[in-house]
């Protein structure tokens, strides 16, 4: 009897103390069900959609950690820039050499990074839409928020259309089924419809860095400008019409005001990704990816400038394409680099002077000092690794140039003149007597050098498929990139782009 009582008591004791509650308690994060109910919380969610424009760095794409994913890829395969191998540096499995020669393979990590940059942005927006949909906001309050988010998502899909063509369209966060490809035409239609549907809800005001009506018009204008390249149907007039809806912007008198540290005050920038060192925004250091290690001595007498990597430079021929009178030529560093402390030329580690040359020995074995360097954005002493200048995505000069190009293509080059005049006058250049497509192409190079959009222009003008420095002819299928190999491995529903 006693045994039983004791045993029973003992057992009951065991279960009284049995805490079997295994729910996780969160302290410094919130579960998705508990967020998005106040205006502030909604703002913080929508803000996340914009911050994803800056990109990210993780173990898969241990590459450049920012929005430059798309920037670098578009530049390096164009006739504008190159990343030569310098001795040991910048070989990295041959990914840049392949990009220059247009022999890239599906496992090229730059391509994977561009893919993941866009789809991460899309997935994040899908998650935010799902989150806000669950919130207690009224449907009328939700509508403009959804429009803004979907228009931003359409920007990512525009990038994907341009880069990869036949990409899957995913819009529902809860749907984790592995998607299949959509055709280029389907993606094109999707981008057009999403933007068109969103426009009535978007603000008509000029609001810096937000997806406004003007931004949506600009993306649509880009879509129509490249319509022939994307889907084989020219829509030059639609592009002009869209450009004409854009209002509230003027060219800044100083070209470089668009690339200054405080470029958010520019009257020309339509869409940009804001950066601020105090806000801890990481990335946007393409100057550092280009300048020589010792360039810092030309920026600060005590070398107070972040590390630079001596990588990307202009292709031979780009620097000399600018007239010496062209104010925009200063977007590159050429010649002797002067040590601010000594007043003499900076020495490289190997004892040779740091003098940037336009020509390079070769793509596979360039010298440390070869190639002129990108310096479009301001470089200043004391700058933090986290940069302050905003990354410009769309500026008003592009709207002018689009209209000019479309008029030339429609056979009315004289209608293009007033638009072009604005651009060339600021640069200090003369207008030619007759305006042709070749002039437009050269002007696009000079106006938008190293702004991450040259590949698309090369494709539209057809130069992409011809020969240039360290590159033979390019087959037509390479107008779009292959779907990254690891994406195909993990999603067997996807088909590789034709030709690859």
């Amino acid at each position: 009897m006693k045994i039983k009582i004791t045993a029973a008591l003992l057992l009951s004791m065991l279960f009284t103390v049995s805490c079997t509650d295994l729910d996780e308690q969160l302290y410094d994060q919130v579960e998705d069900g508990n967020f998005g109910n106040t205006t502030k919380e909604v703002d913080a969610l929508v803000g996340g959609a914009y911050s994803s424009l800056r990109g990210f760095s993780d173990a898969i794409s241990n590459n450049f950690p920012t929005c430059e994913y798309v920037f670098f890829l578009n530049e390096v395969v164009s006739d504008e820039a190159t990343i030569p191998t310098r001795g040991t540096n910048w070989y990295d499995g041959g990914q840049y050499q392949d990009a220059q020669r247009h022999t890239w393979k599906a496992d090229n990590r730059m391509i994977l990074s561009a893919w993941r940059y866009n789809y991460t942005g899309i997935a994040k927006i899908n998650a935010i839409i799902y989150q806000i949909n669950k919130s207690s906001l009224s449907e009328t309050a939700k509508a403009p928020i959804f429009a803004e988010l979907k228009a931003l998502r359409a920007y990512y899909y525009y990038n994907l259309l341009d880069l990869f063509g036949n990409v899957p369209i995913v819009t529902n966060f809860e749907d984790t089924d592995l998607p299949t490809n959509s055709t280029k035409k389907q993606v094109y239609d999707f981008v057009e419809k999403e933007l068109t549907d969103a426009i009535p809800y978007l603000t008509s005001n000029v609001v810096y860095s937000k997806l406004t009506k003007n931004v949506a018009y600009s993306i649509l204008a880009r879509l129509y400008l490249n319509s022939q390249a994307f889907i084989g149907t020219a829509r030059w007039q639609d592009c002009i019409d869209m450009c004409q809806k854009i209002s509230g912007y003027t060219l800044t008198p100083d070209f470089f005001a668009n690339f200054a540290t405080e470029n958010q005050t520019s009257t020309e920038i339509i869409f940009a990704i804001p950066y601020d060192s105090k806000a801890g925004t990481v990335g946007n250091y393409m100057n550092s990816m280009s300048a020589h290690y010792n360039q810092k001595l030309a920026i600060s007498a005590i070398g107070n400038y972040p590390w630079s990597a001596n990588g990307m430079c202009a292709q031979p021929g780009v620097y000399s394409a600018f007239a010496d009178t062209d104010k925009r030529k200063k977007c590159m560093l050429q010649g002797d680099q002067i040590n601010l402390a000594t007043g003499s030329v900076i020495m490289m580690d190997n004892g040779e002077p740091l003098t940037y040359t336009e020509n390079l020995t070769s793509l596979t074995d360039a010298k440390e000092n070869e190639g002129v360097r990108l310096a479009k954005y301001e470089m200043k002493a004391g700058e933090q690794w986290e940069r302050d200048h905003d990354f410009v995505l769309i500026r008003y000069a592009e709207i002018l140039m689009m209209q000019a190009e479309c008029y030339v293509r429609l056979g009315s080059p004289e209608l293009a003149r007033p638009f072009l005049q604005l651009v060339t006058a600021r640069a200090g250049e003369e207008m030619p007597a007759a305006i042709d497509l070749d002039f437009i192409d050269k002007e696009l190079l000079k106006e938008f050098a190293f702004e991450g959009r040259r590949r698309t222009d090369n494709i539209r003008f057809g130069t992409f498929f011809g020969e240039w420095w360290e590159k033979g002819t390019t087959p037509a299928y390479r107008a779009i990139f292959p779907i990254p190999s690891t994406v195909l491995t993990t999603n067997k529903n996807l088909k590789q782009n034709p030709g690859y």
């Binding site: 803000g47 241990n62 986290e386």
Partner: protein, 1005 residues
């Protein structure tokens, strides 16, 4: 029950324990005397005076009997006037008459000789068993056999001592720990370190216990032994039993002073060799800075170390205590590095009750570490810098030559302040109550607390971050609390030849981690160091942070043992674990095991072999264990958090923080489970040789890995999931021989051998498809961004080097390669399909060997360990043999004669055999007996790391098994995952050779 805070939980546990105690007391005091009989109790000792557990005590002429417990104590109802017979295998039997006055009987059995090892008691988790009754694979190391010397981290005492247990120190930094691997490791991402159990408290930091406080270490190796630890048992369990009051009174001291120095540096060009090269090649651009510097030596120092331990022990029949205090100050051979530790330990026990029914045990361990982490970037710079650059300019300031990865490493070491401090505390209180004759209930409450605080200052004149930030200060604080409560009941019964025991228990564990920190740059003066962060004016988002997280683990466990006549032994265990870290769909896991042993030598038909075969036992076991370490908190949930995701509000022109989804939620997340079969033999021969042989085969399923998932549809590109399968198979041999046993001269030798074969069996399942995972990242090395050197793929072990096979140099000094068809081709002709298996980092054989000689008062000990067959990528060498380096960057001596003209490219040209045998310690001692009560003094000299036999060309072949960057900048080992094992890349903190003198004395009273 509400688990909102630890206090509440602990409070409830205390209350519960109190109630249980009360019930037992009431029950006992109700009286258990029977008419005409008497309760007698006593203690049984062996001939050395140690308590003897498991001795059989039987009332003569009856079947009434019991066995002594692990304190050698027994209690039995015996008829007054009768007698008891006390016996133990290998000992003479004693008969004792029981009178009305008999109580607290002390019995001393005379030992026949051989059975000492059999008497050994082994901790198996929630109880102990005699070694002879073990059915699982367990290795035991006693205090005398632990590695001695300049020990900075407690696991070092086991190096080479246990077959199948590899302890690898990737660095000679006193502040760095080791990687511990038992039987090859079972996980890709999760910790592969065994569970550490100190005095029954599971999951604690091994360094909470100092080597001098260790009484014995039991290593549970197979699943049948570790399954009692369920979801934490897959990597084996190291059970540490600390010293507690033993009979008598004694004061002991042990002390050691040592000198450590670096014996192996890379052979790089000296200033004169460099000048010779420049003259020969007539290099006009080369800059001679006029100095003569060996940059490796410039960052090194002779390390002076000392350690002292003092302890007091007092033990009586009913109670005992022990206290110890120790201090160590181990300097590192790299300037500024080192470890200072002060630690204390108090433990005691007390019996209560007429028949000692209740026993209280308590222990408190505390220590404080202070160290100054060094910046590991100095090594690469020491290899890079031109040897003609002097360390100091003529005015005494540090020389500074601009260049890429070219900062003066001595300046880096000198001009920065890194002060770290760690506090460790472990306390426990254990109550054991005997009731109903055969039952013992145990309640054990413990708390472990581990806190680290850090302070960093990089003054405005210090290169790199100091200058760019205008002075940069950082403070950090992190703490970890591990609160546990255990309640379990043991049952022991001997019925004739049947020996039955059982265990059932419950445990609750709660881990809380939290911390905060802040950093600022921009100081007007460097006077404040890190003590006044408010004085910095540069402030960025992310400069302040705090965090907190919690997990808990709830477990029920049971074990049953049955033995018949000491010949046939069976054990079965089961544990059910519930963890908050697991996903919603897999909160609970069950981990069973069963094992059996047969003592063949006790069979009648073995009678004829008695002359030479002392013991022969066959063991077979099977079990399932888990590993849940790879799952961090909250990994299964869909959560929103703030990262560096700030966004700009153009209306207010301010920045705010965005909230973003952080991970792909995985509600199916669960532990990795390892099934293991173990077959073992234990044997004893000629009264001289003992040993055991083990064969095991284990398969780990549901491998946790951060798998790449397709985007779209997933939010982020990776997801922690249970997918793959890995196997480890191997054999182990342990031998111990008393080669010479004499009055004056003794010679003992021991040997451990382990062989393990690892293979990834699967990497995909219906949801996750992975052909291959690239690992062994070379990212960060020049020209190797995003490049990998290893693969994790089906059919290969972890750490398989995958790349091109070289065909030597051609006439121009270009490295040539083999293509897939084994034709010699140039680098430019290589395609991916030419890559192949280039060997792996897994050793084929691990070996530990020790010999001890005593001649009268002298003793000599030698120990060594080895690992054979493993490959290592000498990435340091690969990067240094670069024709682009000279004249600005230094190169190895060999480079000039090698004629290499190819830029560094990963291939097997740079993969080396990293087999090694290290003479770990050699010690010579002299023991002087003192006249006073068996007291004695021992003096000794000792050499550590005296020699390494290896063909490896780098600084040291012993490279971290999972050191992506070896050790991170705070000097902390990365103990999880197998990201980039076996790669030597600029991070070789040299291992010192150390000579020490020591003194031990024991004063008995």
């Amino acid at each position: 029950m509400n688990s909102k805070n630890t206090k509440g939980v602990l409070h409830q546990m205390w209350t519960a324990k109190g109630a249980v105690l009360l019930i037992f007391m009431l029950f006992l005091s109700a009286g258990i005397f029977a008419q005409g009989k008497k309760q007698v109790s006593g203690t049984v000792y062996d001939n050395t005076g140690s308590v003897l557990p498991g001795a059989s005590v039987i009332e003569v002429g009856t079947k009434n009997g019991t066995t002594t417990d692990f304190d050698g104590k027994f209690s039995l109802q015996v008829a007054v006037g009768g007698a008891i017979e006390v016996s133990f295998i290998g000992s003479t039997t004693q008969k004792i008459q029981i009178t009305a006055n008999s109580n607290n009987i002390e019995v001393r059995l005379q030992n026949d000789g051989y059975a000492l090892a059999e008497v050994q008691v082994v901790s198996v988790g929630y109880g102990k068993v005699k070694k002879s009754d073990l059915t699982g694979a367990v290795s035991t190391v006693g205090a005398d056999d632990l590695v001695k010397g300049t020990i900075s981290s407690t696991e070092q005492v086991l190096q080479g001592k246990v077959a199948g247990l590899n302890i690898i120190r990737p660095s000679g930094d006193p502040a760095a720990g080791s990687t511990i691997r038992l039987r090859g490791g079972t996980s890709l991402t999760a910790s592969n370190s065994p569970l550490i159990v100190v005095d029954g408290i599971a999951g604690v930091d091994i360094n909470v216990v100092q080597p001098a406080d260790i009484k014995s270490v039991d290593v549970l190796k197979d699943a049948s032994a570790t399954a009692i630890y369920g979801s934490r048992g897959a990597n084996g369990v190291i059970m540490i039993t600390t010293k507690s009051g033993t009979k008598g009174v004694s004061v002991t001291y042990s002390g050691l002073s040592s000198v450590g120095y670096v014996t192996d540096n890379l052979d790089l060009l000296s200033a004169n060799q460099w000048r010779g090269y420049v003259r020969q090649t007539n290099n006009m651009d080369a800059v001679d800075y006029g100095g003569n510097t060996n940059w490796q030596k410039a960052i090194e120092q002779t390390a002076i170390s000392q350690s002292h331990t003092l302890s007091i022990n007092s033990g009586k029949a009913d109670s005992g205590f022990r206290t110890s205090i120790s201090y160590l100050n181990n300097e590192g051979v790299i300037k500024k590095s080192g470890l200072e530790r002060i630690s204390g330990n108090v433990s005691g026990y007390q019996f209560l009750g007429d028949n000692k029914e209740v026993k209280f045990d308590m222990g408190l361990f505390a220590n404080i570490d202070k160290w100054h982490p060094i910046d590991y970037r100095i090594f690469e710079r020491a290899y890079n810098l031109n040897p003609t650059i002097p360390v100091y300019n003529e005015d005494g300031s540090f020389s500074s030559v601009t260049g890429n990865i070219y900062q003066n490493p001595v300046e880096i070491l000198t001009n920065r302040t890194f002060d770290n401090e760690r506090h460790r505390l472990l306390g426990y209180f254990k109550t054991e109550v005997k009731f109903l004759k055969d039952f013992t209930a145990t309640a054990n409450i413990s708390l472990e607390h581990n806190a680290v605080k850090g302070g960093t200052y990089k003054p405005s004149y210090a290169v790199m971050e100091g200058q760019t930030e205008g002075g940069f200060a950082q403070r950090s604080y992190a703490e970890f609390t591990n609160a546990q409560g255990e309640l379990y009941v043991n049952y022991n019964k001997v019925i004739g030849k049947h020996n039955i025991s059982a265990l059932a228990g419950y445990s609750y564990l709660e881990n809380i981690y939290e911390g905060f920190g802040a950093q600022r740059g921009g100081f007007v003066t460097d006077a404040f160091s890190y003590n006044n962060l408010g004085a910095g004016y540069n402030y960025r988002l992310g400069d302040v942070y705090s965090y907190k997280g919690k997990s808990n683990l709830v477990s029920f466990y049971a074990r049953a043992n049955y033995g018949y006549d000491g010949k046939y032994l069976l054990t079965a265990t089961v544990r059910r674990d519930g963890s908050s870290r697991f996903g919603e769909n897999n909160k609970w896991g069950t981990f069973p095991s069963a094992s059996a042993a047969w003592r063949i030598s006790n069979e009648g038909f073995m009678e004829s072999s008695k002359g030479w075969l002392d013991n022969l036992k066959l063991r077979v076991g099977y079990g399932v264990t888990g590993n849940q370490d790879g799952i961090g908190e909250y990994k299964s949930l869909s959560i929103l958090g703030v990262g560096n995701d700030s966004y700009y509000d153009p209306i207010t022109k301010t920045w705010s923080l965005a909230y973003s989804p952080k991970q792909n939620p995985n509600p199916d997340l669960k532990w990795e489970s390892t099934e293991q079969i173990n077959v073992g033999f234990d044997f004893g021969l000629f009264n001289r040789i003992t040993g055991s042989f083990e064969y095991y085969s284990k398969t780990t399923k549901d491998l946790l890995y951060t798998y790449e998932v397709p985007q779209p549809p997933y939010l982020v590109g990776t997801m922690l999931a249970n997918v793959g399968e890995m196997s480890n198979k191997g054999v182990e041999l342990t031998l111990n021989a008393d080669i010479v046993k004499g009055d004056k001269f003794n010679w003992n030798a021991n040997l451990t051998l382990g062989h393990n074969v690892q293979k990834i069996e699967k990497l995909s399942n219906p949801t996750y498809k992975t052909d291959v995972i690239y690992s062994g990242s070379l990212h960060g090395l020049a020209g190797m961004s995003g490049q990998y050197s290893q693969i994790i793929a089906e059919g290969y072990p972890v750490g398989t080097f995958w790349g091109f096979k070289n065909a030597g140099l051609d006439a121009d000094g270009k490295i040539q390669y083999y293509n897939a068809a084994n034709e010699v081709v140039a680098e430019s002709a290589l395609v991916d399909a030419d890559k192949r298996d280039l060997g792996n980092i897994q050793p084929d054989l691990t070996l530990g060997i020790g010999m001890n000689f005593t001649y009268e008062k002298f003793d000599l000990g030698i120990s060594g360990y080895g690992m054979f067959g493993q490959k290592a990528l000498n990435a340091t060498n690969m990067m240094l043999n670069d024709p682009n380096r000279l004249p600005a960057f230094n190169v190895p001596d060999d480079f000039l004669s090698s004629g290499i003209t190819s830029s560094p490219k990963y291939s097997d040209y740079w993969i080396e055999d990293a087999s090694l045998f290290r003479i770990q310690t050699v010690s010579l001692g002299y023991t002087l007996p003192l006249k006073y009560k068996n007291s004695k003094v021992r003096f000794y000299v000792m050499g550590e790391n005296l020699f390494v036999f290896t063909s490896y060309k780098g600084v040291d072949p012993e490279i971290g098994l999972n050191a992506q960057d070896g050790i991170n900048q705070t000097g902390k080992m990365d103990t999880t995952g197998l990201a980039a094992p076996g790669i030597d890349r600029y991070n070789n903190y040299p291992r010192p050779t150390t000579i020490s003198v020591g003194l031990n004395f024991t004063l008995n009273n």
